[in-house]
């Protein structure tokens, strides 16, 4: 298992899961991120990132309802674990701290 650091994509995925809340399954996450980052994220890349995240213990998942459009296959919903949320918060604190240290003249 690689350390508990969050990659940029992983961070975005965690945030996206939080935003989507009850509706956070593969396709929705993929579409949400593609839309927000304005770049196509392949299902394969998303899968790799999600696998890493669950290996690190940041996300859990459970199977949900099957629909006709999915050829009767179930969705796998993702949710953040406590340590996932903690890691996100840690990341945010770190960034906020760094942002606050940037002299305002540098931002022009």
């Amino acid at each position: 298992m690689k350390g508990t650091q969050l990659g940029e994509l992983q961070e975005v995925i965690l945030l996206s899961i939080l935003i989507l809340d009850e509706d956070a399954y593969g396709l929705k996450i993929q579409q949400d991120i593609s839309e927000r980052l304005n770049r196509r994220l392949s299902r394969g890349a998303l899968h790799t990132a999600l696998t890493r995240l669950s290996e690190k213990g940041f996300v859990t998942s459970h199977y949900g309802g099957a629909t006709q459009e999915r050829g009767g296959r179930r969705k796998r919903y993702y949710a953040l674990t406590v340590s996932g949320k903690a890691s996100l918060r840690e990341m945010k604190t770190l960034r906020d701290e760094m942002w606050s240290l940037v002299p305002s003249t540098q931002l022009l």
Binding site: R43, H47, T48, Q68, E69, G71, R73, R74, R76
Partner: protein, 865 residues
């Protein structure tokens, strides 16, 4: 229930490589995305995204159970070993790859040739719902044309009927942009269509948008025609003039441009106008039952055709009343995917037919034959070469390599070779396609019409099939020997190997078969050139007339030319046109082929008179048309052998038989066009539609001279003179194609087989090195050694000759029977020649190697270890 448009192959691929516990989630997501993508981007793009997604899912965390790390490490080592093995035997391996590449490119061409026929008319998206109306005639034949009034008469819910009619027409274009005065004339096909044709055949403009509706005086042109006429790919709004048969002119405006249809469709659309123009241009009543159009089509998405057919059949009475000479017993509907196969057998039909099945099967058969041969050779060479690597295998095993890794090594090596061969083959094919198209005289293979996915699938399937076939056996065979036996020199991998011998025999069987095919085809072509057709083709030229009076004007001028030996007017042409008719003789009805010709026509073509006389002049002294006929020998025999000077009834009138002539061919000698009972009727000059002349030493210059004369006399008319020899065109073309294909196939198969034999001989020589050394020391001559070396080969060649030649004669006879009405009989000489040729090639290619081996110094041979 999966989405119906989901690419099945790809979802199966995903299921195959994806871990089971992930499949449900991933496939579900992809399928849901697929459904949404269809909504937003359309089916095509949705499929592309789907395929890409699956390709991108091929990553270690998704792929099933494969020890991913081990593979990548090992492959590297396998590759190094492979390259080392290639370096050791560059000649054999190079030859092997080249042979395989040649075979693969022939295979590719064979496949695309097959595909051309197989996807005929599939270009039209609604093809499964489109039908063509054909009429069953009383008798057995089927007519492709239908009455103009049929389509408008049909009114059933869920069914739309529309008409299509094609005419060659002269198109005049004023010279553009001040490039001198005058105009350009073209003969071009003009298609008259009901709006339904455009709509249901989904014709679109260059931007894939539906074509705007046509009003009177407007036409669509194809992009190809646009370039030809205007030198402009988008000449919307430009004008063109058509010259009607009555010499009137009509100005037409280009409304829009459509992309040229692929060649494997039934239509050659160049200019399209609305159907109503037919009545204006040709005075044809478009709602009449006695006017015929090329095709009536029906669009019926429901697929229930019985209602349509039964409604059409209610009009049979009206139609048969209106057309006494063309009685139809019932209508039938043929789906446009099936119709092209029937097209060639339909009467009065002028659409593009599918290729003759023999042409497709011939090419595909040769291609598969060559591919098999290359595979056999590949297997042989692989086995022979790996004989030198037994020790390597043994060492690997002793050092802990297992059998699987040895097999993997060999399979990888072979796949690598085949991979290289496929790349070379693609390049070769690229260069061969124009040649192939030129040979077939129109573009059979249009690379831009073949979707890239087809190329990818085809390439993958080819690599997999050929790779497995060629590599599996050697890999399993060689890896099985125990190391101990190898080290003790107990493994005998000699030329006696049963499989190698069998494969070589099969290779040479194909060689004999191919060379036999080539020789017989070439011989048949020269036979058909010499064949007596009952008339003389040489030096005869036919010039179509638009009005009978033109003949007199032309004849007056031609009389002054000394090299024009004879001229005659006629309305039918031997070799090109005749009618089937019934005549009455002695109260009985006979079916005959009927020709109408002017006086002197038969003499111009040198038809040979047996009895009686030819036509002397067309009118009696009182100015009436003479009612005279000449019949051929076959008809005379049918009429009882004594018909001269007796009357026959034709169209209710009495004619007198004034002469009997030798049988002559009424058409080209393709298919079942054998000599038929035939009656030639004297035609008055008022119905001439051709001038036929016999010229001494006819050349293209002479034809140009005649063309100049024509334009001097009739400047507004297009000259259409053609040679009587054109009747040979299809036969020559077919023979030309068959000879070309056979030559390529025979050459490649001989090359590959010789390579295989060379490898085998080298192997035997090497394995029996010591034996030969001892024999020589004991006094054997080099001739005896050569004999020992060649003994197996005699058997191989003997058996191959027997099977190859027998098979060849059965197949070639069947092929000739299906293509030609007259062809050679295969005789003994046809068997002798291929045998001599192959023996000659084998001896000259291998003799030196065999002698060299036999003459080696025995000391060198014995001293090796």
């Amino acid at each position: 229930m999966s989405h119906p448009h989901l690419p099945k192959f790809w979802s199966r691929l995903l299921q195959w490589f994806c871990r089971e516990e992930l499949f449900e989630e991933l496939q579900g997501d992809l399928e849901e995305a697929f459904g949404e993508n269809i909504e937003s981007f359309g089916l095509k793009r949705a499929r592309r995204i789907y395929r890409l997604e699956i390709l991108k899912l091929m990553r270690p965390s998704v792929i099933k159970n494969v020890p991913a790390v081990r593979i990548s490490q090992l492959t590297g080592n396998y590759l190094i070993t492979s390259i080392r093995a290639f370096k050791h035997n560059p000649f054999y391996i190079g030859a092997n790859i080249l042979g395989m590449a040649l075979a693969l490119s022939i295979g590719t061409i064979g496949y695309f040739n097959y595909r051309f026929n197989d996807t005929f008319n599939e270009y039209f998206p609604e093809a499964t719902s489109l039908y063509k109306v054909n009429g069953l005639r009383t008798g057995e034949s089927t007519v492709g044309t239908s009455p103009a009034a049929l389509a408008p008469a049909l009114n059933l819910a869920g069914i739309t009927a529309f008409r299509y009619h094609d005419e060659r027409i002269a198109v005049k274009l004023e010279n553009q942009a001040g490039t001198g005065s005058g105009h350009k004339l073209f003969m071009e096909g003009l298609s008259f269509t009901d709006p339904g044709f455009i709509r249901y055949f989904d014709l679109a403009n260059l931007n894939s948008q539906p074509l705007p509706a046509l009003s009177h005086g407007e036409v669509y042109v194809s992009d190809e025609t646009a370039m030809k006429f205007f030198g402009d790919p988008y000449p919307v709004g430009k004008l063109l003039t058509v010259i009607l048969p009555n010499h009137q002119e009509r100005l037409l405006t280009v409304k829009d441009v459509f992309p040229k249809l692929p060649n494997n469709t039934s239509f050659r659309l160049s200019i399209i106008a609305d159907f109503e123009h037919l009545s204006d241009f040709y005075g044809m009543d478009e709602n009449s039952w006695s006017n015929w159009v090329d095709g009536t089509f029906i669009y019926a998405p429901e697929g229930d055709m019985t209602r349509a057919v039964s409604q059409m059949n209610t009009y049979l009475n009206v139609q048969n009343q209106a057309n006494k000479d063309l009685q139809i017993s019932s209508y039938r509907l043929d789906n446009i995917l099936e119709w092209p196969a029937l097209e060639a057998s339909l009467h009065n039909s002028a659409f593009v037919p599918q290729m003759h099945p023999a042409a497709v099967a011939g090419t595909l058969g040769s291609a598969i034959g060559i591919l098999l041969l290359a595979c056999f050779n590949f297997i042989n060479t692989s086995i022979a070469l790996s004989g030198n690597r037994l020790k390597e295998i043994a060492v690997r095993k002793v050092l802990g390599g297992n059998r699987t890794s040895t097999i993997a090594q060999f399979i990888l090596e072979n796949f690598l070779m085949i991979g290289i061969a496929v790349v070379i083959a693609l390049a070769l094919t690229y260069y061969m396609i124009p040649g192939y198209n030129a040979m077939m005289s129109y573009e059979i293979i249009q690379p831009d019409q073949i979707p890239w996915t087809t190329f990818v699938y085809f390439g993958l399937v080819l690599v997999l099939c050929v790779g497995l076939m060629a590599s599996a056996y050697p890999a399993f065979y060689i890896s099985k020997f125990p190391s101990l036996a190898i080290f003790r020199n107990k493994v005998v991998l000699s030329g006696k190997n049963r499989l190698m011998t069998v494969l070589l025999t099969m290779q040479f069987t194909l060689c004999f078969y191919n060379i036999f095919g080539l020789l017989v085809t070439a011989d048949n072509a020269s036979y058909q050139e010499r064949l007596d057709r009952g008339y003389d083709l040489g030096g005869v030229i036919n010039i179509p007339l638009s009005q009978p009076q033109q003949y007199t004007a032309l004849e007056d001028r031609l009389k002054q030319q000394t090299d024009v030996r004879q001229t005659a007017g006629t309305s039918s042409l031997i070799g090109f046109s005749f009618n089937n008719h019934s005549i009455g003789f002695n109260g009985q009805e006979y079916e005959v082929a009927e020709l109408g010709v002017g006086a002197g026509y038969l003499e111009t073509l040198q038809v040979r008179l047996i009895n009686g006389s030819m036509f002397s002049q067309s009118e009696t002294n009182t100015g009436e048309a003479r009612k005279e006929v000449v019949i051929n020998k076959m008809l005379e025999e049918q009429l009882g052998g004594d018909a001269l000077n007796k009357p026959v009834t034709f169209n209710g009138e009495k004619y007198t038989v004034i002469g009997v002539v030798e049988n002559f061919n009424l058409r080209q000698i393709m298919f079942d066009n054998k000599v038929k009972p035939c009656m030639v009727r004297l035609e008055a000059p008022s119905s001439y539609s051709y001038a036929t002349l016999k010229v001494d030493g006819l050349t293209t210059d002479k034809n140009r001279e005649l063309e100049a004369l024509w334009y001097e006399l009739f400047p507004q008319e297009l000259y259409g003179g053609f040679l009587q020899e054109d009747v040979m065109q299809q036969v020559r073309q077919t023979n030309f194609i068959m000879i070309n294909i056979s030559t390529i196939v025979a050459t490649i198969s001989i090359l590959i087989s010789i390579l295989g034999l060379y490898t085998l001989i080298s192997l035997i020589a090497q394995k029996r090195k010591k034996e030969f050394g001892v024999r020589k020391v004991m006094g054997a001559s080099w001739q005896q050694i050569t004999h020992l070396l060649g003994r197996d080969i005699y058997w191989i060649l003997g058996i191959a000759a027997l099977i190859g030649l027998t098979g060849g004669s059965v197949v070639m006879n069947a092929v000739f029977d299906s293509i030609y009405a007259y062809h050679i009989d295969i005789d003994l000489l046809h068997y002798v020649w291929p045998t001599m040729i192959i023996l000659g090639i084998v001896v000259s290619a291998l003799g030196y190697k065999m002698m060299q081996t036999s003459k080696l110094n025995p000391v060198e041979q014995l001293r090796t270890e």
